[in-house]
Protein backbone atom coordinates (compact mmCIF):
# COMPACT_ATOMS: atom_id res chain seq x y z
CA UNK A 1 0.00 0.00 0.00
CA UNK A 2 1.62 3.20 -1.16
CA UNK A 3 0.93 6.56 0.33
CA UNK A 4 0.05 9.13 -2.24
CA UNK A 5 1.16 12.70 -1.75
CA UNK A 6 -1.78 14.94 -1.07
CA UNK A 7 -2.32 17.59 -3.70
CA UNK A 8 -0.48 20.78 -2.97
CA UNK A 9 1.95 19.13 -0.61
CA UNK A 10 4.82 19.98 -2.92
CA UNK A 11 4.01 23.68 -3.10
CA UNK A 12 7.00 24.49 -0.95
CA UNK A 13 9.36 22.24 -2.82
CA UNK A 14 12.94 22.85 -1.79
CA UNK A 15 15.99 22.24 -3.91
CA UNK A 16 18.16 19.99 -1.81
CA UNK A 17 21.91 19.99 -2.42
CA UNK A 18 23.41 16.77 -3.71
CA UNK A 19 25.59 14.69 -1.45
CA UNK A 20 27.09 11.30 -0.77
CA UNK A 21 26.72 9.69 2.64
CA UNK A 22 27.12 6.28 4.23
CA UNK A 23 24.63 3.96 5.83
CA UNK A 24 25.51 1.10 8.13
CA UNK A 25 24.38 -2.37 7.10
CA UNK A 26 24.62 -5.90 8.46
CA UNK A 27 27.94 -7.50 7.52
CA UNK A 28 27.80 -9.50 4.30
CA UNK A 29 24.51 -7.99 3.16
CA UNK A 30 25.88 -4.82 1.56
CA UNK A 31 24.95 -5.78 -2.02
CA UNK A 32 21.49 -6.96 -0.99
CA UNK A 33 20.88 -3.60 0.66
CA UNK A 34 22.11 -1.76 -2.44
CA UNK A 35 19.80 -3.77 -4.70
CA UNK A 36 16.78 -3.49 -2.40
CA UNK A 37 17.36 0.21 -1.89
CA UNK A 38 17.59 0.63 -5.66
CA UNK A 39 14.23 -1.04 -6.15
CA UNK A 40 12.56 0.78 -3.29
CA UNK A 41 14.05 4.10 -4.30
CA UNK A 42 12.78 3.70 -7.84
CA UNK A 43 9.33 2.64 -6.68
CA UNK A 44 9.00 5.57 -4.30
CA UNK A 45 10.54 8.09 -6.66
CA UNK A 46 13.22 8.86 -4.08
CA UNK A 47 15.77 11.45 -5.09
CA UNK A 48 18.65 9.03 -5.07
CA UNK A 49 21.06 8.91 -7.99
CA UNK A 50 23.23 5.93 -7.16
CA UNK A 51 23.93 3.39 -4.44
CA UNK A 52 27.44 2.03 -4.09
CA UNK A 53 28.68 -1.11 -2.35
CA UNK A 54 32.50 -1.07 -2.58
CA UNK A 55 34.10 -4.46 -2.07
CA UNK A 56 36.48 -3.15 0.58
CA UNK A 57 33.88 -1.32 2.61
CA UNK A 58 32.36 -4.01 4.79
CA UNK A 59 29.21 -3.14 6.69
CA UNK A 60 28.52 0.08 4.80
CA UNK A 61 26.75 1.21 1.65
CA UNK A 62 27.16 4.66 0.10
CA UNK A 63 24.21 6.65 -1.17
CA UNK A 64 24.45 9.51 -3.65
CA UNK A 65 21.38 11.70 -3.67
CA UNK A 66 19.65 14.76 -2.36
CA UNK A 67 20.66 15.83 1.13
CA UNK A 68 17.25 15.33 2.67
CA UNK A 69 17.67 13.39 5.88
CA UNK A 70 13.94 13.03 6.59
CA UNK A 71 13.20 11.53 3.18
CA UNK A 72 16.15 9.14 3.45
CA UNK A 73 15.18 8.03 6.95
CA UNK A 74 11.66 7.41 5.72
CA UNK A 75 13.02 5.36 2.82
CA UNK A 76 15.31 3.28 5.04
CA UNK A 77 12.60 2.60 7.60
CA UNK A 78 11.81 -1.10 7.91
CA UNK A 79 14.47 -2.19 5.45
CA UNK A 80 16.13 -5.49 6.21
CA UNK A 81 19.88 -5.37 7.06
CA UNK A 82 19.88 -1.55 7.31
CA UNK A 83 21.29 -0.17 10.57
CA UNK A 84 20.89 3.55 9.94
CA UNK A 85 22.63 6.62 8.57
CA UNK A 86 26.26 7.08 9.61
CA UNK A 87 27.32 10.13 11.62
CA UNK A 88 24.27 12.30 11.07
CA UNK A 89 24.57 12.09 7.30
CA UNK A 90 28.11 13.38 7.05
CA UNK A 91 28.91 14.57 3.54
CA UNK A 92 31.43 12.49 1.63
CA UNK A 93 33.07 13.97 -1.44
CA UNK A 94 33.46 12.11 -4.72
CA UNK A 95 37.22 12.47 -4.25
CA UNK A 96 37.06 10.46 -1.03
CA UNK A 97 35.40 7.48 -2.71
CA UNK A 98 37.12 7.60 -6.10
CA UNK A 99 39.51 4.83 -5.17
CA UNK A 100 36.56 2.51 -4.59
CA UNK A 101 35.17 3.19 -8.04
CA UNK A 102 38.16 2.54 -10.25
CA UNK A 103 40.42 0.20 -8.38
CA UNK A 104 43.86 0.17 -9.85
CA UNK A 105 44.54 -3.03 -11.79
CA UNK A 106 46.16 -5.63 -9.57
CA UNK A 107 49.24 -5.87 -11.77
CA UNK A 108 49.73 -2.07 -12.03
CA UNK A 109 52.59 -2.06 -9.56
CA UNK A 110 54.46 -4.92 -11.20
CA UNK A 111 56.90 -4.41 -14.06
CA UNK A 112 58.80 -6.86 -16.19
CA UNK A 113 62.08 -7.86 -14.58
CA UNK A 114 60.81 -7.39 -11.01
CA UNK A 115 61.73 -10.03 -8.48
CA UNK A 116 58.68 -11.36 -6.70
CA UNK A 117 57.76 -13.82 -4.04
CA UNK A 118 54.80 -16.06 -4.75
CA UNK A 119 52.39 -15.80 -1.82
CA UNK A 120 49.82 -18.50 -2.60
CA UNK A 121 49.20 -21.57 -4.73
CA UNK A 122 51.51 -24.52 -5.42
CA UNK A 123 54.62 -22.29 -5.71
CA UNK A 124 54.01 -20.43 -2.45
CA UNK A 125 57.26 -19.13 -0.97
CA UNK A 126 59.22 -19.41 -4.23
CA UNK A 127 61.07 -16.45 -5.64
CA UNK A 128 60.75 -15.62 -9.31
CA UNK A 129 61.49 -13.01 -11.95
CA UNK A 130 58.61 -11.42 -13.87
CA UNK A 131 58.84 -12.16 -17.58
CA UNK A 132 55.53 -10.95 -18.90
CA UNK A 133 52.43 -9.08 -17.72
CA UNK A 134 48.88 -9.40 -19.00
CA UNK A 135 47.09 -6.38 -17.55
CA UNK A 136 43.71 -7.35 -19.03
CA UNK A 137 43.69 -10.77 -17.45
CA UNK A 138 45.63 -9.55 -14.41
CA UNK A 139 48.06 -12.38 -14.88
CA UNK A 140 51.81 -12.44 -14.90
CA UNK A 141 54.27 -14.95 -16.26
CA UNK A 142 57.26 -15.61 -14.04
CA UNK A 143 60.38 -17.74 -14.09
CA UNK A 144 61.08 -19.53 -10.84
CA UNK A 145 64.62 -19.20 -9.47
CA UNK A 146 64.78 -22.56 -7.76
CA UNK A 147 63.35 -24.67 -10.56
CA UNK A 148 65.72 -27.20 -12.12
CA UNK A 149 64.58 -26.24 -15.56
CA UNK A 150 63.41 -22.70 -16.08
CA UNK A 151 59.79 -23.10 -17.11
CA UNK A 152 57.62 -20.01 -17.33
CA UNK A 153 54.63 -20.17 -15.00
CA UNK A 154 51.55 -17.99 -15.41
CA UNK A 155 49.83 -16.91 -12.20
CA UNK A 156 47.32 -14.34 -11.00
CA UNK A 157 48.78 -10.88 -10.36
CA UNK A 158 47.57 -10.87 -6.78
CA UNK A 159 49.44 -14.02 -5.86
CA UNK A 160 52.81 -12.30 -5.75
CA UNK A 161 54.55 -9.72 -3.63
CA UNK A 162 57.20 -7.54 -5.24
CA UNK A 163 60.56 -7.99 -3.49
CA UNK A 164 62.78 -5.91 -5.73
CA UNK A 165 61.90 -3.49 -8.47
CA UNK A 166 63.73 -3.85 -11.77
CA UNK A 167 64.89 -0.24 -11.72
CA UNK A 168 66.64 -0.73 -8.37
CA UNK A 169 68.60 -3.78 -9.44
Amino acid sequence: MEEENADGEDLLEVDFPHTIFAIKTALGHEKTVAENLGQKGKRKGAHIFSIISPMKLRGYVLIEGEKNEKAIEELLKGMQYVRGIVGGERDISLKEIEHYLAPKPIVADITEGDIVEIINGPFKGEKARVKQIDTGKEEITVELFEAMVSIPVTIKGDSVRVLEKEENL
Binding site: I20, A34, E35, F49, S50, P54
Partner: protein, 58 residues
Protein backbone atom coordinates in the same frame (compact mmCIF):
# COMPACT_ATOMS: atom_id res chain seq x y z
CA UNK B 1 24.22 -12.44 -12.12
CA UNK B 2 27.16 -12.02 -14.49
CA UNK B 3 29.17 -8.87 -15.20
CA UNK B 4 30.13 -7.52 -18.61
CA UNK B 5 33.90 -7.50 -19.06
CA UNK B 6 33.71 -4.28 -21.07
CA UNK B 7 31.13 -2.04 -19.38
CA UNK B 8 30.67 -3.95 -16.05
CA UNK B 9 26.87 -4.04 -16.44
CA UNK B 10 25.31 -6.83 -14.35
CA UNK B 11 22.87 -9.08 -16.15
CA UNK B 12 21.23 -12.50 -16.14
CA UNK B 13 21.27 -12.65 -19.93
CA UNK B 14 23.78 -14.46 -22.14
CA UNK B 15 25.40 -11.33 -23.56
CA UNK B 16 25.62 -7.79 -22.27
CA UNK B 17 22.39 -6.02 -23.28
CA UNK B 18 24.24 -2.69 -23.32
CA UNK B 19 27.35 -3.39 -25.36
CA UNK B 20 27.13 -7.04 -26.43
CA UNK B 21 30.30 -7.70 -24.43
CA UNK B 22 31.45 -10.99 -22.98
CA UNK B 23 30.28 -11.80 -19.45
CA UNK B 24 32.21 -13.00 -16.40
CA UNK B 25 31.16 -14.54 -13.13
CA UNK B 26 34.24 -13.15 -11.39
CA UNK B 27 33.17 -9.70 -10.27
CA UNK B 28 33.17 -7.65 -7.07
CA UNK B 29 31.54 -4.54 -5.66
CA UNK B 30 28.35 -3.02 -6.96
CA UNK B 31 26.86 0.28 -8.00
CA UNK B 32 23.14 0.65 -8.59
CA UNK B 33 22.54 3.65 -10.83
CA UNK B 34 19.05 5.14 -10.61
CA UNK B 35 19.62 8.47 -12.35
CA UNK B 36 22.72 8.38 -14.51
CA UNK B 37 22.12 11.87 -15.88
CA UNK B 38 22.26 13.46 -12.42
CA UNK B 39 24.75 11.12 -10.77
CA UNK B 40 28.27 12.49 -10.44
CA UNK B 41 29.49 9.01 -9.61
CA UNK B 42 27.99 7.60 -12.81
CA UNK B 43 29.62 10.44 -14.78
CA UNK B 44 32.94 9.67 -13.14
CA UNK B 45 32.60 6.02 -14.13
CA UNK B 46 31.37 6.95 -17.62
CA UNK B 47 28.11 5.11 -17.03
CA UNK B 48 25.37 6.16 -19.43
CA UNK B 49 22.46 3.91 -18.53
CA UNK B 50 20.63 3.12 -15.31
CA UNK B 51 21.07 -0.33 -13.86
CA UNK B 52 23.41 -2.44 -11.77
CA UNK B 53 27.16 -2.54 -12.43
CA UNK B 54 30.10 -4.31 -10.87
CA UNK B 55 33.00 -2.19 -9.61
CA UNK B 56 35.57 -4.76 -10.66
CA UNK B 57 35.45 -7.53 -13.23
CA UNK B 58 38.07 -10.15 -13.94
Amino acid sequence: MLACKKCMFLTDQEKCPLCDGELSKEWQGMIVVLDWETSEVAAHMEIRANGKYALKVR
